[in-house]
Every structure is written in structure tokens, then in C-alpha cells.
Chain length 667, copies 2
């Protein structure tokens, strides 16, 4: 059992690794690009779908005539945001990202707002990317249709195991699929363009349909159409998620860090734009129709509604059309799309614990999340993230369209706050005596960040306006709850730290006069004998063994054996009329304290050390309860005397591999 258990654990969590294997490798641009860009690039797998299906609600050819406008809008925002973050990267090479920028320039409340927004968004990144990955995979593997939720949940479990195991992101395992995805999409664009030019491009599967407008759409007129355009634009802005990742990871780049990071950011933005524009163009050429899964039945074939139709993603339909007659191309693109989306989800598994650790350092989250070296700190973060993401996937049926309504609020809260912070940063630096860079450059940077702030603030307003009731409200509520929780945690820590402040006088160094030692004994076995031996070794002023008389026969047997073995310590028997253990001992300890208040009472408790958690349920429970009660009594010290059971052997090792996010942080 124990052997099997260990083998199973090794399979899931992996062989323990030496920490010096970690090294301090820094990332060259060719590795940094795939690691930081998987989130941003992968969004072209779902952003075009969102644009087309939202516009499709108006029916007819509305999507064809307007998708270009929307795409252009998204490209503009992308350009502005990338330009803005290039300023951040230069100004804050320490990698604190938006949280640091906001905290430093706008104060802790602003920083906390960014942090809440990002924590919520990390969770959504996992849910959206995995759901979209499953949907994309379904276009090549139709067997997945109808089982999306289960497949998505299993993928999240797999990612969780991988991150608990501590896989390093910097390997080719992470870089190759990203390059293959770029290759696939660019090949799709080139082949599609050539076939279009030669008049050989087939129509997409959904081109045969027409889209009926939603019942109320045609009556609402211009205002409704503008609102629809804004909603489509909001959804399309999902392409921008992940842009901030590089600004968190500057320390991981090879020198010159800031310059390399800025270049990588520009490269990533350009790639995103090229891919997004290509896909939307191809979608128009091939006549793709996408209907909102929440408003089914407006897909018409020869004027009649289509009852049942498994809608493929835009990328899936495109590859079927463009690579028509070349199935390997279709399968290749579906696989790399699925893989890059899973990698995008993985970025959240890296970002979430790192951000949590920074927040814990600043006292906003439980301090335990800060301890970098400790696996458990990261495990907790990973498990919380995975649990929340799974809940979202289950509640929203692994439907990317529904999840995207909650998404990007967080990112744009973070963008906007950070860009406002940057304006402050430049203002302050312009007032400084000896600025590190020329005022002209700073003023130019300030203009860029100001444009970025206005742009991302506008997008945020549009997103909130068009999507609040569609789901974004829940995301905002989650952020508010997180914000309030973190404020409470910090308040608690501050209160405790004030309570524990030492006075300047030396009062606190008063020594207790004597030590009264008590060894708790229930049976005469090896752990009890060890506890007795250790207690005697400490040579206390008073030493006695204490047993509680719960079962008279057992107590008598204990007493007889005690005398037979001539143990040189008095055995005191405490009566327990109600057969309790804890209360009589507490009472006895309190009596000692009352009789000699200057004494310390040291209670020795023999404890079993076991190898498995379920064994823990079978032992030490009374000891644990007793201990937690004893600690409430002032002047009492509780000493655990461990007895290592055979099953504990081989279980003392702790895991020591790479931590999620270690590659991105460059340490």
C-alpha cells in the first residue's frame, strides 16, 4: 500500500529534485516570446468568434460589413496598449508589473484594486482558454462534442498536477507549440490568400446558412446597432489579454533586460495583429456564419431554422476550408491551437502564485503564501486557482462565449490603473532634480501613457456598459469581495503586530522562577518511556507523570506496571467522573498555576509520527485537542515528544523542484 502510494505520488507529483538544479538561467528573446506570449497569441483562437457571433445577432450580412471596423478598433487598442507597456517595461524593470506601478504611484488602494482584478482575471484565463481549447479540439475530434465540460475539467486537473509537479516553463516543451501555432496560422493566411487570388478558395461549412436577426433587433434601430457594435468590440478586446505578462517578467530576460522585454512586447503585439487581421479577412472571404450559443435558432438553411448543428470555431472552419483536400493541415492546426490554449491557461498557473506571493509579502494575503521556498505555499495557490476555474467551467458549461462576458474587465481595470500610475510616475520624475533620462523622452512617454490610459479607460467603460448584465457584473462583484477580504487580512496583521510590539523597558525579559514538568501517560509503551526520559533529561524543578482515570481497570494496570518497573517518577492519577480527558488535565494545570503563579508548567505529550494522512486520523486526536486547549492557558508550554512509527519512514522528504512562475521571475 505504502509502496503503491509512493509510486502513485511520484507519477503525479514527480521525483524530488535538488534545488541547485534550478540554476539562474535567464531567457533569451526566442524563449521569452513563446513563454510570455502564449496567452496573448492564443486569444486569436476565440476573439474572432466573439466578434462575428455578436455582430451576427443583427442577422443578415451585418457581420461581414462590420467585422472589419471592429477588428480595426481592436488593432488600434492593441497598438496603444503595447506602446504604453513598452514605457512600463523601461520604467519598472523590477517586474512588479501593474500592481507595483499602481501601488508606487497611486497608493496601496489602487494597487489592491489592480491585484483583485488580476486574481479574478487569472482564474478566467484558465476557464476561457481551456474551454476554447476544448472547443477548437472538437473541430478535429468530433467525439468531444457533448463532453466539453468533462474534457475541460480533466485538462485543468492535468495542468494542476503538472504545476504541483513543478514543470519549468523554459523548456522546448513550452516553446515549440507556440512557434508551431504561429506557423500554422501564418500558413493558413498565406495558403488562404493564394487560393483566394487563384479563385480556388472553398466556402466555409457555415457559408450555406443565412443568419436571421434576433426578434427584437430589427425594431430597435440605430441605437441598438451601435450598442451591438460596442459589445462586439468589447468581446474582440479579449485579444489583448496577456499583454501585461511581459511587464511582470522583465527580470527573467537576458541583458539588456528592459530593451529585450520591450522588443519582445512589440514582436508579440505585431504577431497578434497580423494573426487577428488574417483570420477575420479569411472569415469574410469564406463566408463564415457564427451564431450565439445562447440565442440558438437564428441559423437558417433555405429560410428554415436549423435544429441541430455542431458549430465549429472560426479557426476550425477556416482550416477545413483553406486546407480542403489536405487533412493533415486541418488536424495539425487543431492540435497546436488546443495545445497553445492549454499553455495560455498554464500562464495563469504561473502568474497567480507569484502575484499571491507579492500580495502576501505586503500583508494583503496570508503570510504563508509568501514563503517562496515552500511547496505548500504554491500548492495552495494552485489548488485555489484550479478549483475556481473548474467551478467556472462547470457553471458555464465550458462555453467560451459565456465566460468571455466575465473576462477582460479585470485586465482593463489593471491596464487603466497602471497607465494612470505611469502618468504620475513621469510627472514626479519630471519634477525630480537629476532625472535619469531626458525630459523630452519622459514627456513623450507621458503622452503615450496618457493615450494608453484614455484608451483603456474607454474600453473598460464600454466593456462595463455592454456586458455588465451579461456576466461582467459577477466579475466586478468577485473583485470587490477579494478587495474587501484583503483589506481585512492586512488590518488583522497590523492589529496583531501592534499587540505584539515590545515595550522599550526590559520587563519582557523577566524569567519564570521554576519549571513544573508533567508527562502525560495513558499506557506504558515506548513513546511514553521516551517522553519520560526526555522530561527527566531537562531536569525540571518538579517532575510528575499524570494519567487520567477514564477506565478504572486500565488505570490500575498502568499503576501496577509502573511499580513493577520501578519508574523513578511519581505517577499522579486524576479522577474523571465523566470519562473526559481534556478537562481534568486543564483543571489540574490551572491548579498548579494558581498555587505557584511564577512557575512555568511544561506539559510533555507523547505523539505518534505517521506516514499517511489517514493514519493521522487514527492517532494523536486526543493529544491534538488537549494541546490546542492547553495553549489557551497562560504560563503553559506544550512539548511534543515524537515517536516515529515505522510507517513514517521515507515520508519525511519534501519536494524541491522548480516553483510555478520561477522562470518568469528570473530568479
Amino acid at each position: 500500500m505504502s509502496g503503491t502510494g509512493r509510486a502513485l505520488k511520484r507519477l503525479v507529483v514527480g521525483r524530488a529534485m535538488r534545488s541547485d538544479k534550478l540554476g539562474d538561467t535567464l531567457l533569451p528573446k526566442k524563449l521569452a516570446l513563446p513563454i510570455f506570449a502564449s496567452d496573448a497569441l492564443s486569444s486569436v483562437a476565440y476573439a474572432p468568434d466573439e466578434i462575428l457571433l455578436t455582430l451576427g445577432l443583427a442577422g443578415g450580412s451585418f457581420a461581414f460589413t462590420h467585422s472589419w471596423q471592429i477588428t480595426l478598433g481592436v488593432v488600434c487598442v492593441m497598438a496603444v496598449v503595447v506602446a504604453s507597456y513598452r514605457q512600463n517595461v523601461h520604467a519598472y524593470p523590477s517586474g512588479g508589473g501593474d500592481y507595483e506601478v499602481a501601488t508606487t504611484n497611486l497608493g496601496p488602494k489602487a494597487g489592491l484594486t489592480v491585484a483583485s482584478a488580476l486574481l479574478v482575471d487569472y482564474t478566467l484565463t484558465v476557464a476561457v482558454s481551456i474551454s476554447s481549447g476544448v472547443q477548437n479540439a472538437a473541430s478535429a475530434l468530433p467525439a468531444i462534442h457533448g463532453h466539453e465540460v468533462i474534457v475541460a475539467v480533466f485538462l485543468i486537473i492535468g495542468l494542476t498536477a503538472m504545476n504541483l509537479r513543478g514543470v519549468r516553463e523554459s523548456g522546448s516543451f513550452f516553446a515549440i507549440p507556440v512557434y508551431l501555432f504561429m506557423l500554422g496560422v501564418i500558413a493558413l493566411a498565406i495558403v488562404g490568400t493564394i487560393r483566394k487570388l487563384t479563385g480556388d478558395l472553398p466556402l466555409a461549412e457555415s457559408a450555406k446558412f443565412t443568419l436571421a436577426p434576433q426578434p427584437h433587433m430589427d425594431t430597435l434601430g440605430q441605437v441598438a446597432l451601435v450598442f451591438l457594435l460596442l459589445r462586439a468590440f468589447s468581446s474582440g478586446c479579449a485579444a489583448l489579454t496577456g499583454v501585461e505578462a511581459i511587464s511582470n517578467g522583465v527580470p527573467a530576460f537576458k541583458k539588456p533586460k528592459s530593451k529585450n522585454a520591450a522588443t519582445t512586447l512589440l514582436l508579440m503585439g505585431s504577431l497578434s495583429v497580423v494573426m487577428l487581421v488574417s483570420i477575420v479577412t479569411l472569415a469574410n472571404w469564406t463566408g463564415i456564419h457564427i451564431q450565439d450559443p445562447d440565442h440558438p435558432g437564428n441559423l437558417l438553411l433555405n429560410g428554415k431554422p436549423v435544429a441541430h448543428y455542431n458549430e465549429d470555431t472560426v479557426l476550425g472552419q477556416l482550416s477545413h476550408a483553406v486546407f480542403h483536400g489536405f487533412p493533415p493541415g486541418v488536424i495539425f492546426l487543431a492540435i497546436v491551437t488546443g495545445v497553445i490554449l492549454v499553455l495560455a491557461a498554464n500562464t495563469a498557473f504561473n502568474g497567480f502564485p507569484v502575484l499571491a506571493s507579492i500580495l502576501a509579502r505586503d500583508g494583503w494575503l496570508p503570510r504563508q503564501l509568501h514563503t517562496r521556498g515552500d511547496r505548500l505555499a504554491y500548492s495552495n495557490g494552485i489548488l485555489i486557482l484550479a478549483g475556481m476555474a473548474m467551478l467556472l467551467v462547470i457553471v458555464y458549461g465550458a462555453e467560451p462565449t459565456r465566460l468571455i462576458q466575465l473576462y477582460i474587465v479585470g485586465v482593463f481595470v489593471s491596464f487603466t490603473t497602471s497607465q494612470i500610475g505611469m502618468i504620475r510616475h513621469w510627472n514626479r520624475n519630471l519634477r525630480a532634480e537629476n532625472p535619469p533620462i531626458s525630459p523630452a523622452r519622459m514627456k513623450r512617454a507621458r503622452v503615450i501613457n496618457a493615450v494608453g490610459a484614455v484608451m483603456s479607460g474607454t474600453v473598460l467603460a464600454v466593456v462595463l456598459l455592454t456586458k455588465f448584465t451579461h456576466g461582467a457584473g459577477y466579475a466586478v462583484a468577485a473583485m470587490v469581495v477579494l478587495f474587501a477580504l484583503m483589506v481585512q487580512i492586512r488590518r488583522h496583521y497590523t492589529r496583531v503586530s501592534e499587540e505584539l510590539q515590545l515595550a522599550e523597558s526590559a520587563d519582557d525579559q523577566l524569567l519564570p522562577s521554576r519549571v513544573h514538568a508533567i508527562v502525560l501517560v495513558s499506557k506504558l509503551h515506548k513513546p511514553a518511556m521516551r517522553a519520560l526520559a526526555y522530561a527527566r533529561a531537562t531536569r525540571p524543578s518538579v517532575l510528575e507523570a499524570v494519567t487520567v482515570d477514564v477506565e478504572p481497570e486500565e488505570t490500575q494496570a498502568l499503576q501496577e506496571e509502573w511499580e513493577r518497573r520501578e519508574i523513578p517518577v511519581t505517577l499522579k492519577i486524576i479522577a474523571s467522573p465523566y470519562r473526559e480527558i481534556t478537562r481534568p488535565i486543564i483543571k489540574y494545570v490551572k491548579t498548579i498555576r494558581r498555587d505557584s503563579p511564577r512557575d512555568v508548567v511544561m506539559v510533555y505529550i507523547p505523539e505518534y509520527v505517521v506516514g499517511h494522512w489517514y493514519e493521522q486520523l487514527l492517532h494523536n486526536q486526543s493529544a491534538l485537542r488537549l494541546k490546542s486547549r492547553l495553549l489557551f492557558t497562560p504560563g503553559v508550554l506544550v512539548a511534543s515528544v515524537p515517536w516515529q512509527l515505522r510507517s513514517s519512514q521515507g515520508h519525511e522528504q519534501d519536494y524541491d523542484g522548480p516553483r510555478p512562475g520561477s522562470v518568469r521571475r528570473g530568479r
Copy 2:
């Protein structure tokens, strides 16, 4: 917050009670009957329904012509079982019940079989009784229709809170509803009979329907009908659950205990029989039709299937008919039926922890469940029972008919095993030199128990045969799993106890030579100063303060303050290149042990004592992890030095009221 929390806790769990308030009151028969009989008597609220609806599957008037035969069969079994248990009560006045009888006479495996069966059945008692209570209440409160599951779950939560609170069963709160229920059913029988004799008895609501046979029923012929009769009989035997309760509770009776218990048992059996027969007779007179909720649509009105019909229980329909023109009678019976069914569920809340405690005493369950005085031991049992029962209620939609398919297997396993054990008991006593009672009486008792064994064995076989695929299989599977689990637990305890056995030589009393004390310090605050003071008071051979250098600035600040305050203990700084806490300390401790293996290393850890569990999440986590790792290292002692934070005040009190089952056990 803390004040509100405490007020809330008091509301749910109640004000703490002194244990001497418990007293040692023993039960007179007039209190014992309602306390022990609520389970058995309440089953007449669902047993007739099960008989009629199972027979109803054959359609037509099959239920009318055969319900009498089935009822007669159930009455016979009841008579035999009651007669058998009267022998048990005389032979085993200690109240160990079937578990004791089986263990003593047939060995531990038989006892464990009975125990597994009873634990499963206690869970089902809660689920079935609550579900039936809700169904019965719905006949007077139609608003409940459609919300049965939620109402049932809330009732279970209420019972759980009541039992965690420690309500004594012996009060009038428990006795009065049972007497009112008897009164109600007997009034129903008398009024019904008078109205029948005067030709004034109205028909039941469902008398207007006819029952279509199940599609396959008319073609299967005699064999299928016999099988149906047997299934109806199995379901009707649900009336027998709870008969064994008195045999577990003999010590709670006033003297002469066994005689009083036997009389109460006879009284209970007679009452059950009278009520069951009355209800079935009235059901035939008023023409009640009940359809199986799992086979809807065979209820016909004028030859056409009835689409939607909220079927009331037999008792509900009867009271509507018999008390026609007298609504208070209807409402009264519905209320007392609901209440007695909740009390029946409450018996399981009393029986489960008591049985678990006996099993824990014998090493089959975690030892912590045995400690009688400790509230947590019972709380765990109560919470497990409530959780399992809620799960059953949710999975089976609070539908008594579906739950009853799983029920009574356990009871009849227990009946049969116990009666076989009793035969052995008399055989052994007949061989004894000076038997306490006359051989003639023993032989007569042996005959009664033998008939009981054959009868309950036959019922068990019938139940398994007719219901295994309908759900009884799950109950059997649960018993097998429980059985295996308990065997494993006992095996573990035996193994550990062998491992801990002291040798006869005095080797174990070797004293360590010196004590090397280490005080872990992260900051110079009050808890650290207290830990230092206590450690100094124990006057160890070597004393040093140790800090791990995780953040160089903090370490330096600590070192400076250390010197400024002139603390007379060396501060040792341990390097931690990977910013860990646990590993460097473990390594350091191991070095000390290697250098002087005869020393004990005593590690003093300052710990915060907090008042709320959520504060616990914010503190001590590194200390806890460190401690659990340190305990794996031989020769190490861990001393927790508590610092009581202000929030801990007022939270050290533990609850001390009556425990579930204390009244039944007579202690």
C-alpha cells in the same frame, strides 16, 4: 464580529451546561415507551403505502384483495421478532444489543457484520423518516409539494444542530408527540370504524381512480405475481425497524430493568400491530389507490391516464376521508405524524454515536470516537450521519419509496445474526454447571430465538431476492465497504500497539546526556521574548536563538535590535539561499544531532493562540509545517510556546451538555 459570532454559536449550539446537571435519571416505562418506540411506531406512516403501491403495480383490485395477506405476514414477523427480543433483553441486560450478542456468541466478525449493517441502517432511518415526514406534512401543507428535498435537508440540518446542542431525549418534548401520534391514529381507527358501521365513511380522494397494470404485468403470470407479493411483503417489513432499539437500551430502564424493558417491547409491538392493521383496513374501506412514483401514468380516471396528480400518503388520504368535515383532525394528524417521523430520525442521531463509540472502544473505529466526555467525538459522528443522510435524501429526491428499497436489509442482517447468536447462547448456558435460570425456560427461549432466526433469515432472503437490483444492492455494498474499513483500522491499531510494546529489559529508560535548546526567532516581539524566557528557565546545557536569513534587511534589523537590547543568548543566523524556512532548520538540527547523538534537541517555537479558525489560517502556518517536519527527526522535541492574542479570550471554553444517546444508555 467576535460578539456576533459567539451569539450565533450560542443560538445554534446552545449555552454551555454543567455536567453535574446531567444526573443519573433512569426511565420509567411511560417515558421509555415514547423514547424507544418512535422509530418503530412511526413506520406505520410509510409501511402501508409501500404495501399498497407495490401491489398496485399489478393493477386493478389486486391491492385490495392481497393487502390483507401481506399485512398478516408482517404482523406474524413482528410477533416473532418481539418475542425473540424479549429473550435478548433478559439474557443481555447490559444494553450491548445485537452487536454484543453477535460478538459474544459468534465471534468478532459476526459482531462487525451486525455493526456495519446497523451503521448503514441508522443512516437510512434518518433519510427514510425525514422523507416520509415531509411527504406526510405535504398532505396538510400543499405548499411543500415540489420542495420536498429542500425541506428534508433543512430538517436534517435542524436535527443536527439540536443534537450538537445536546438536547436530552427524556423530556416531555420527546414523549408528548409520540403519545399524540398514538392518540391520533387510534382516534382515526375508531372514528373510521364508527363511520363505516353507520355507512357514513366517505371514499378517499384516490378512490375515483382505477389502476392500470404495468405493461408487462398481465403477461408474466403467476410467478410474477408471487414475486410482487414477496416484494410488497419486504416493503411492509419496514414496520419492524426500530424494534431492536429497546435491546440496546436496557440499562436506561428503571428496575427491574429487564422486566420493564420486555414489557415495553411487548407494548410497542402490540401498538404497532394495532396501528398497522387499522390503517390497512381503513385504506381498503376508503378505496385508496397508490401508484409507484417510479412508474407513473398507471393511474386512470375514466379509463384515461392522469397526467399530473400530487399523491398524498395513505395516512394523509385516510385522515382527509375519516375526518371529512373536521379539518382540525386532519391538520392535527399531519402535524403529529410529521413530528414523530422527525423524532424517529432523531433516534438514529442517538444510536449512531453510541454504536460508533462501542466500536471505537473495541478498536474497529478511530479511538477518538470512544472518548465519551468529549463533545468532538460525538460531533464527528453526528456530522458524518447527517452528511450521509442528506446525500441520500438529495440523490433519491426525498422519495421514501425509493429509499425503502435500500432500507431494512441492515435491520434484518442484524436480527438474523443476533437470533443465531442467541441460540448459541442458550446452548452454552444449557451445558453450564449452574445455570442461573431453569433448563426448561432456557429451552423454551431457545425455541423462540430459533423461530426468530428462521423467520428473520427468511425475510432477509426475501428482501435481498426482491430488492437487490432495486437498491438493496447499494446498501449491501455500503456494508461490505464499512466492514472492510473497520477490519483495516483494527489491523492498523494492532500493528502499532505491537510496535510500541516495551521490552522487559530497562533499555528504554536510558536518559539522554544533555539538552541542546534552540529558540526560533523571526522578529523580536512579545511571543519571541516569552519563548526565550521560558527556554532560559529550563536551564538547558546549550541555549541558542536561531533565525533563518530569508530577507537580509529583516535579518540585519533583528541582529541590531538583539544587540541593542543586550539579550543574553547567542543569535545564530542560518543562511537560506532559496528563501526557505523549514529545510535550513531541519538541516541545522540534524547537524547538531550528528555532532552529539546522545543530546536531545529541544526546539522552542513561539505560537500565536487565536480565537477563530480563520485567524488560524493567517498565523502559525510556517510553524505548523516546521513542526510536522521536525517531528520526523529522531531525538528532537518540539515545545510550543503559546502567546495568547486578545482575540483568543473567551474562546477557550468547551461545551459540556448531554451527549446524544446518553438517556438511552442509562448513564
